[in-house]
Each structure stands twice: as C-alpha cells, then as structure tokens.
C-alpha cells in the first residue's frame, strides 16, 4: 500500500518534472527570440501616459521594435533609471544639471500639456468660473472657505455662486502633476510659496486626497462644492467643468490645446541648461498659466549600441511621426526648433562604444 503510494508520488513527480522542463525550454526560446528584435524598457511619469501608450503601440506596428512603458510615476521613474532597471526614465519635474551630471544622465523634453482646475459647484458650467492665481492660492491654502466668498464673487460678477463650503481635492500619491500645479501656485501666490512650497507631494493645508488623476476626478464628482486639479485629458473624459484662469498678461484664458501651445511657444529652450524648464505662468496673451513639459532621462554612455540606436530612433519617431497622435490626445508636441536642439544634444553627449549613436538612417 505504502510502496504503491510512493511510486505514485514519484510518477507524479516525473510528470511534473517533464512538464516544467518543457515549459522552461519554451521560456528559454522566448528569451532568445527576444534578442532578435530589441525590447526597450521605460518607466515613469503618468501625466503623458495616454500618449506614450499610443506611441509604443504604433511604433511597434511600424518597426517591430517593442517598447515597454510602465507609468509608475515620475519619482519611481527617476529611481528606476538611476538603478538601471530600465533603459529610459520619464519624469514631469525636470532634474537640475548637477543631478544629471552626477548620475551620468541626460534629459530632454518629450511633450507638453496642461493641468486644469475642475470644480463641482451647482450652477457653474464649463469655463464659466473665472479665477486668478491669488484666489486659487487662497482656496488651496484654506483661506477661502465658501463659494460665496467676496474674492471669488469679485472675479465673477455675472455668476450667482451658492453658499456652499469649499472642499479642496488634491492628489494623495506623489505625482508630477502635483509638482506642476504646486510650482504654479508657488509662482502666483506668495502665501503658498512661504507656507507650502513646491514638490511632487506637499503638506496640504486643507482638503482630501484622491489616488492619481482618476481618483481626483472621482472625488470632485462625488463631493458638492469641491475643486481639484487634473491633467487636461482626464478633465475632458470626466466631463467635469473646467475653470478659466487669469494668466501672466492679465487675460482670462480657457484651458484648451491652443492656450497650452501658446504657453509652450514662448518658452526659451535655447538658454535652458539641460532643458530644465518650467512652463508655468509664461508670458503671452493666450498662454495657459499651468502648463508643464514632461521629460525623458537616458544614460549618456549607452552600454548596448543596438539598443541605444533603437531607442533614439524611437524618440525621433515620436517627435516627428508621433506628433499628430499627441495633438489628437490634447497634448502639445515639442516644436521642431526644440527637437533640433534635442538632436544636437544627442549628437554631443550620447555615446555607445565611445562613438555617437546613429539614429538617423535605417541601417
């Protein structure tokens, strides 16, 4: 009885072993075939994720090169490129030149986009409410507690605002979108700059937190009297009313692709060391005041030449062929003049096997 049981067990084990061996051979083959076409891994910012998803899909269809992009957040993207677990990192808050130099990294802008303010106030429709930087700062600082506050009423004489407490909704996770938004607040509100400051997550004086962009949308949708900030695409998807903002030139502007473009057009990339650029509160009569760029981080010294070539070809493709799909998704592609600056930066600093990386021709 016992013997036969053991035999049975051994037989089972043999079967199991055969199966596993078979599986591992299959796995091995897949790994080998993976070397034939390059797979490039990237991770980071979630702000441009909708565009990156379309780009990687289209690029693979066009060239066969596989790009894996994980939208794990800007901070995680920086961590992962520093620990070399990915081939490129993506971040919404640019790194300073010193930090790049220390880690042997280079940085270039990939896309621009707008962060918008959404509200849930009864009687307020899309782009009806007008706010200026000072007032937004005071709302997020908790100084303005009710929608019938004088400061808001003064900017909106034609609107009848209800007696309703203001609920601020912010991101609960650390995020590049928060970095862009708090950088804006720090620029336009002295109180914010002094008390809170700018970072991927900050000490929020008031409000409730939501997980990622969709979490903020959900919370704003559920709470009457709430105000929050999200990346523009998410505001469009959730159909929440956006708010007009007073820009640097004193005009009230609507959040839309043309005003984001206007903000991007006025930026002086030529004189930005390591492409370090904050696009918030840019001059120009149509500039949307909360605009941000999102950046790619790669190593200057590439260890794998074939991979480096494929990667730069991909980025070149994104700047040129990919521009239209970015516009379709309401992001602002990098203008050609800036792309030329990026190209000369690649030529100057990215090397593989001691030679510049050839991303131009197909061969």
């Amino acid at each position: 009885m016992l013997k036969s049981t053991f035999k049975l067990i051994r037989k089972e084990q043999m079967n199991w072993f055969k199966k596993t061996a078979g599986l591992s051979i299959v796995a091995g083959l897949t790994a080998v075939s993976g070397f034939c076409t390059e797979t490039i891994n990237g991770a980071g910012a979630s702000f441009p994720e909708p565009v990156y998803r379309v780009w990687t899909y289209n690029f693979q269809k066009a060239t066969g090169t596989r790009i894996n992009y994980q939208s794990v957040g800007s901070g995680a993207g920086i961590n992962q490129i520093k620990s070399k677990t990915v081939d490129f990192g993506a971040t919404d808050n640019p790194l300073k030149l010193e930090e790049l130099e220390k880690n042997g990294l280079m940085q270039f802008p990939m896309l621009m986009g707008g962060v918008v303010i959404v509200v849930n106030v009864p009687g307020v429709e899309i782009n009806q409410l007008k706010l200026d930087g000072e007032t937004v700062g005071n709302i997020f600082l908790g100084n303005i507690k009710n929608w019938n506050d004088q400061a808001i009423a003064k900017l909106n004489p034609e609107l009848k605002l209800p007696d309703l407490p203001v609920t601020v909704v912010h991101r609960s996770d650390s995020s590049g979108t928060t970095w862009i938004f708090t950088d804006y607040l720090a620029k336009v509100s002295a109180g914010w700059k002094k008390d809170v400051g700018c970072d991927k997550s900050v000490k929020w004086p008031v409000g409730i937190g939501g997980q990622k962009n969709p979490g903020v949308c959900n919370n704003v949708e559920k709470v009457k009297g709430s105000i929050g900030y999200v990346e523009y695409t998410y505001a469009l998807e959730s159909k929440l009313p956006t708010v007009m903002l007073k820009n640097c030139d004193g005009n009230f502007v609507k959040p839309e692709i043309s005003t984001f473009q206007a903000a991007g057009a006025n930026a002086d990339w030529q004189n930005a060391p390591a492409f370090y650029m904050e696009l918030n509160d840019q001059p120009g009569k149509d500039s949307w005041p909360i605009t941000g760029a999102t950046f790619i981080l790669i190593y200057k010294n590439q260890e794998n030449k074939a991979k480096a070539e494929a990667m730069l070809k991909y980025f070149k493709w994104c700047f040129t062929e990919g521009a239209q799909s970015a516009t379709n998704l309401k992001y602002v592609p990098i203008p050609e003049t800036v792309f030329n600056l990026v190209k000369s930066a690649w030529d100057k600093s990215v090397v593989a096997d001691g030679k510049p990386v050839n991303y131009k021709s197909e061969e």
Partner: protein, 314 residues
C-alpha cells in the same frame, strides 16, 4: 513491470524525509516572520536616526521639508479600527444570535451563506462601493442627519464641515467588512454550546436573554473574544477599502467627520515614488503596523488564557 523497479529510497528514509520537509516548512513561517521584522527595521534605520522617538509623537508631514511623523497615521488606524469594532461586534452578536437561536432553520441556512459570501468580497469592491455609493450617501443623508437633526454637532466628535469622506465613513465600511468574520466565528461558538445546558436553564425558568447572557456567552467567552480579535486584526491592516474613502490627509483626528489617513493607506499612497528618508519613514510606518498587529495577537493570547483560567476556576 512496476514491481521489478528498485525502490530509490527505503520507506524509513522516506518517512524521515517527510518529517524533515514538514519541519522545514513549518520553520519557514517563523523565518519569514523574523525576516520581515529585520528587513523593516533595517530599512527604517535612516528614519530612526533622523527623527528618533519624535517620529512616533510628531504629527508633522511635510515632504517638501522632508519632515515626517507617524502620529496622524497611527491615530487614524486606531480610530477607524475602534469605530469598526464598536459597530461590528454588537451587530455580529445579534446576527449570530438570531441565526442560532431564533431563525427558522431554512432561513438561518440561507442567511449564513449570505454572510459567508460577504466575507468573500474583495476589499477593492468595498472601496469602490464606498466611493461611488456610500460617500455621497454619507454627505447628503447620514452626516447632515447626525449633525443637524440629532444636534450631535454640539459634541466635537461630530462637529466641523463634512463631505462624505473621513473616519466615520471608513469605520462603517470596515465594520461591514469585518462583520462576516466575527459573525461566522460567533455563530459557530453559539452552536457549540451543549443543548442540555441551555435546555436546563430554560427549564429552570430563565428567559432567552438570561440564557444568552449566563449560559451561551459564558460558555463561549473564549470563542467570542477570539472572534473580536480576528475582526480587530483585519480592520487594522485593511488598505484598499479605507484608501478610497478616508480622504488621505495627514491630520490628527479631532472629529469623526474629518478626513485623515491610516498607516496602510499612507503606505499605499506614497510607496511608489518615495526616496531617501521619505522611503525609510514609510518602512518605519510599516514596522509600526507590524508591531501593532503583533501586539494585538499577544494581547489576544494573553486575554484568552486569562479568560479560560477564570472559566476553569468557576
């Protein structure tokens, strides 16, 4: 054919092998537990060095200045757990009582299954339901009712602005989540009471309530306490459901209507992006959560032993 095969190992050796394998597997549990403690402690050393004991008492949470304190998260964890237990324990008790003592067998059977199914719902579902259905319900019905109609707003516990999110909402959702666990154990405990004990009490003229209080509860005290601790342990570490409805702000609780955070929610929110001291502070929070859970276990064991000793003496 099979019989002609030589045995690779003798049955005795196989027996020995079996013993060793089981021992290793059992030891592995202890090693993993110890490993968790060591790893968490190791990773929290930078935060311990930076903040010292102040970490436990400080309510500062400022990523810009890199200052972190665990107090709001610890307090939030304890407050939500307390609300959950206060609501879930009496409710489970009543439900279990009904199922065992008064419900017709067919109904009891169906309801038991329904409660067991409640336990099988993943916590993310509770979170989504909480955000989409329960939060607006709290904001528009429950909170105004408690604050204005019942005039509870004179008590600081129910004072302040409300928007549906916060400790009370989280506590109630946690209560619903731990109820099936507590209820299932209580039900089994009640069923284990020998019928002869209850029948003799009824025979002596005791009412249902007296039988419950003096016979069932006393007989099953150990099991009932065990049930409560089971629920407690689950509520302390629950993450997803709380994350959706607590509001996620690092503030000390002053009112049940206020938004706050718990240890597990803080970890879930910040881990992906944390670096340096921030990351280490999160590890220390994880260590604190592990210690709290551990303390609950120890306390439960201690209490159970005491209760059973008392019962033995009587």
């Amino acid at each position: 054919m099979e019989n002609s095969k030589k045995q690779l190992i003798s049955p005795d050796a196989a027996d020995q092998l079996f013993k060793i394998t089981t021992a290793v597997c059992a030891l592995l549990a202890a090693v993993v537990m110890l490993g968790f403690f060591i790893q968490l402690f190791w990773s929290s050393i930078p935060a311990i060095k930076t903040f010292g004991l102040d970490f436990l008492t400080s309510s500062e949470w400022d990523p810009v200045k890199n200052l972190y304190g665990a107090m709001p998260a610890i307090a939030g964890t304890l407050v939500t757990t307390a609300i959950a237990v206060v609501i879930a324990v009496p409710l489970s008790f009543i439900v279990a009582m009904f199922l065992v003592e008064t419900a017709p067998p067919a109904l009891s059977h169906t309801l038991s299954h329904a409660i067991d199914l409640l336990a099988a719902i993943p916590s993310i579902i509770y979170g989504m339901w909480g955000l989409f259905i329960f939060v607006p319900f709290m904001q528009n019905q429950v909170q105004p009712f408690l604050a204005n109609t019942l005039h509870l707003k004179v008590i600081p516990l129910f004072a302040g602005e409300y928007n549906g999110f916060g400790f009370l909402t989280s506590g109630i959702i946690l209560a619903v989540m731990i109820l099936p666990f507590i209820c299932a154990v209580m039900r089994d405990v009640f069923r284990m009471v020998p019928p002869v004990l209850k029948e003799s009490a009824f025979g002596a003229g005791a009412t249902s309530w007296e039988v419950t209080l003096d016979i069932t509860m006393r007989y099953g005290a150990r099991g009932l306490l065990g049930a409560i601790f089971l629920g407690l342990g689950r509520a302390v570490g629950e993450t997803m459901a709380v994350l959706f409805v607590i509001g996620n702000v690092q503030k000390m609780p002053t009112s049940l209507y206020q938004a706050g955070t718990t240890i597990s929610a803080t970890l879930a929110n910040n881990f992906a992006e944390a670096q340096g001291v921030f990351r280490s502070a999160l590890f220390e929070l994880g260590l604190i959560l592990l210690v709290i859970s551990f303390l609950i276990q120890v306390l439960a064991q201690f209490w159970l032993n005491r209760v059973s000793r008392q019962m033995g003496e009587k």
